[in-house]
Symmetry: D2
């Protein structure tokens, strides 16, 4: 259960790694949004990766098909169902590992929850492949947000031991926006090179590496977030942890607040162009769970790809005895760059959901509202 | 809106810092749980603090009153309403700051959201005082969890620059369980002394300090978490970010995964006493959003108390001109130790909510289930 | 579980018939609504009944106490907790019937669900007394709706065999509005007299009677209702069935549609004062689950009070043998007139909830919205 | 928004009358249920109708396609996406009526809500065609319910002025179960003939007729329903009103309770085969919103098909002047018989949803639960 997210802009996802399709049903998208398959297709391309010849494990065209909710190239207010087919599927390698859960994967917890009935091929519904559905939903959300001038962009700030110094990302928004569309979405090109090298080294050893993604929302609508429990940061953190491999989420100064004094961490208010702004942004644009209008800034920690080529210890669930496992197949030694667009996508979903909570379901289309 | 949390064990909270009461309505608590006010009172005491003469800003008896849902000292299945009265309230100092939002507080975002109608006295509903309601709800959840042998405990691992080395917390569960009940809940007594000194120094300067809380759940029920979106970690992160001052949440190795290799981060499976366990616990007891039966381990970053005695920059919302502010009143220079029981409480709420999702609403009481 | 209703205007209720209080927490009420206890008190008075000396079983002052969410006589955007105390409570008669469920009451199903732990005194949480909480929440909703010119009113159209002919209710709205405030809220005074006689006859025989309530919403906001599942009629029907004793709900022509031809039942559209209206209103103001702007019209069937003085067959749940029961105490032989304000209240709750879904959470207050 | 129903067994539907597909995503179905397309196909056939050569407006194969959630012919615990394609689609007749809303249809309210962007072809998402999605979801729910011995069946009891006397339906369950699979699902064959005649007469006049469907659930699980608001009857009523054309819902004695005395309406308890039962079933198997274990009995009023061939008054939304409309195309003069399986389907969905609320998400599959 629980394959839906959101209260007003409700995203439901379905599909399995080695099933027929990956899909999403988007409910609550306002009527009247111009939407074409290419809006979605271009975002999916970013997820497919391609920063190096080794980066992607699967080579699928991911041709977007819209099954409902669009009429004359506009949203109608009805639920939008979008699917991509799974084509590059080789399930043969999974039969041999089905009783021996892969360390770092959800195989064992899926078995705990669904017993022998779980679809174990390629991780089933726990596969990173499911994030294609998040990207499709995020593409729709971004299209609506663009009406409001809201822009969401993420980029890699750390891979293994290579950390981008923050002074190297403090460029213009436009530069960063562009850099995130690079094959390797890191705004600091010299760090990017080192990161690619670290990935390549891991790949050669049959190992993998993790990293950190930072996401910024420019011009976020103020006053989003519904306390006490449906805070903006809380809702965003919840969906971020749905992305496979995310193990940490922090806003603004994040874990660094532990070592700051109150006098350093508090963001002083001032007036700029007649508007209230803060001089610093340690709060990451959120105070009391509500957006204050400053850029949203948050980071997620992405663990190293659990699929590695080294021999690993596991157990045989049938015999309940120790076993070893050595994976075959094609795996991406670092999923961080491909997760960048996924992080943006879920942020867009949360932003639009809260925007609609604040402004109502018929915010754009609707004769009734247009007439007002 | 959105003052309720949970799907099966639903906690609704209400009240303001300087209103009449702080309260909670707990819906979905199974019938038949023995529950007395002292179960709740003892947890509230832990929240009141008292690690030093300066630790608490308010001195309230916090006398628990149960208004519904208990009959003959047992839960009945009906919603349980519990309140504590606000007694130590001095609202006079707030009139002068009502147009000048305090940096680091939710005053400004509350104004954005509710306009001039927001209750600005002591932060209104955004006050840390509201966490008393979380603790009351958590006390009830813990009582139910104890039937299942689940134990939740948290402690301070970092204040300002003082960080407890993890080897110093790797003691027996019993030791840690005891230490968390100390006035200053840190399992490493030599670190605790340094932390108290750091707090005292901040206090003398009129400043404040932040820190990190770690929480462990021993004997957690396996197979909790409802993918894709209602993951156990996601739901827990969401409610953790509702706690005022939390700016980061991480599970298991957390942000450290960025610099780990896959071969280091993957937790190898093995068999122990006929059960599947993992040799390490970098995943913090959660894989694919589902608990695997290993101890849950997570950490939250708590920002320094935003209320400080130093002069701060702000703006006047009426005149829309820069202003300065210097707070009077009594503030706690470090809320981290008092937040320990709050972190435990929300973890207990999420655990019970997911346990009931897994086992059903009539898990304990109910003739129908008892008869089965 | 499930003591909350609504998505934007969320009403949580708690309390038991013979517990300390009956209460509600109202979350999502827009900030800036002027609200005093007398707004709520006056509605509660209507529920207390008093159409005859025998009408009410309990004589409680029902003094409203607001525990949170109001500051300077206005709503703040924070949850509003309101309670009334139970004072006229005599639980002694319930000890003897606790093992012998009363026919027509929820005693047996409560036992099935909560076992021996259920609060059996006076029906516990299943008592009609809980509708006081609905009336308190409805009073708040009505106050907000009045800003939008929406008026909700209900009245009795049938008691036992006495049915008001519809031509006798087709008076001006003002007349009907006034009549509903009569001790016996029936707009046709000659029918009202017959109804009172039917009730009195039932009372003398130790029996009880049921009836039908009709509710009309004048000037309802158009375009409310969120298909496919959160239709306006569906949401309204759901909460109407929460009112103890309601066994049927119908909209517009209701069950009469079964015998109408399409050509009779379809409401022809026309233009009146430049607005689209329908010539008839067989649809009751709702098409496709969405309000069309015409008056909402619906009816509920209310069963006869299950508490009667005649000897009844039951079983002893301890011995599992047949038994008989003869109730003592004071019961109202007809709850229909007192349910009128309850029906209005839940209709107001649903109207406001859907209005906020359509227009957003900050529809009234909020600097952000006021500033737009 | 709001295209999902349920808390544990969550049904999301999508598609439009003249779009590519009608589909459903079913989330929360327990793992381990054997499920084939023919389980779903056979139910869809019942919805297609065919009681006469004139009964169905569209002739579509409705070939079921399962896109996710099934592996080796069993449910996996992952969301199940099922679609049927729309093939018999002629949208040409809708262009001319797009500015002149059809009386009795949702055209006008769709326009109010979504403006010009609504998909007006064949009613778009408001078409009765969407009930195919409900039937697909219901087929899955019925399969699970059959594990628990729960059987749901509905039949026609009234068409136009032809009403089946209840003594003619009081046959054995098996007889009624069989009769509902007849082309014209009415358990009383002599009434059925009269009904068919009434429909044929309406058809000849270019008019349509309505009717009443009764539904019975044999062997329902006791103790389902979550008071105060998520009552079993309330949840069922809510989804029943989502079925286009339903204008009334009643349980047990329904609207007849208005004229019953308490002594007649109260169902006396007694013991039968060691179990508590009631001698009568005026409550329709539900007391206090909770099932008591007796058969569930409820009825819905279905309005006459709004599509008729007679000239009707309407308005032109562009010119805002009166207009007339005369529909072309092929319409079913009575949708009641085809709605029978739809009523069963939504009842099955609610039953399973509440069963899972009571027993937990892993009620069937799941190693964890199997292992217990």
């Amino acid at each position: 259960m629980s394959s839906s997210f959101g209260r007003m802009f409700v995203v439901t996802i379905f599909g399995e790694s080695h099933g027929g399709v990956i899909g999403t049903v988007i409910d609550g998208c306002p009527a009247g949004v111009e939407l074409t398959t290419s809006d979605i297709q271009s975002e999916l391309e970013r997820r497919r990766g391609g920063y190096s010849e080794h980066s992607t494990s699967r080579r699928e065209p991911d041709r977007v098909k819209v099954l409902s909710g669009i009429f004359k190239n506009h949203t109608t207010g009805a639920p939008i169902c979008i699917v991509v087919e799974n084509t590059d599927v080789d399930s043969s390698t999974y039969e041999e590992v089905k009783d021996t859960p892969r360390p770092g994967h959800a195989d064992y917890t899926a078995y705990l929850k669904y017993g022998e009935f779980s679809d174990y091929r390629g991780g089933g519904r726990f596969s990173g492949r499911l994030t294609a559905a998040l990207v499709m939903a995020g593409a729709v959300a971004k299209k609506v947000l663009s009406w409001f001038g809201v822009r969401v962009f993420a980029y890699v700030t750390c891979i293994a031991d290579v950390v981008v110094e923050s002074k190297n990302i403090e460029k213009s928004v436009e530069t960063v926006m562009r850099s995130r569309l690079l094959p390797f979405p890191c705004p600091d090109s010299s760090s990017a090179k080192k990161m690619l090298r670290a990935i390549e080294e891991a790949r050669k050893r049959g190992d993998s590496v993790g990293g950190i993604i930072e996401c910024v929302v420019v011009n976020p609508p103020p006053a989003l977030g519904e306390p006490f429990f449906d805070t903006f940061d809380g809702d965003l953190a919840k969906i971020l942890f749905s992305i496979p491999a995310v193990k940490g989420v922090e806003f603004g100064a994040g874990f660094r607040v532990a070592s700051l004094k109150g006098s350093e961490n508090n963001d002083p208010f001032t007036i700029e162009n007649g508007k209230v702004v803060t001089r610093t942004n340690n709060c990451g644009g959120i105070l009391g769970g509500i957006t204050n209008g400053m850029p949203l800034v948050f980071r997620v920690a992405v663990k190293p790809t659990p699929s590695i080529y080294l021999k690993q210890e596991t157990v045989n669930l049938k015999t309940m005895r120790p076993a070893t496992i050595k994976l075959k197949g094609r795996y991406d030694p670092c999923i961080v760059p491909r997760a960048v667009v996924v992080v943006e996508s879920v942020a867009a979903v949360v932003l639009l959901d809260h925007l609609l909570l604040q402004r109502g379901s018929t915010v754009l289309g609707g004769h009734f509202c247009l007439g007002k």
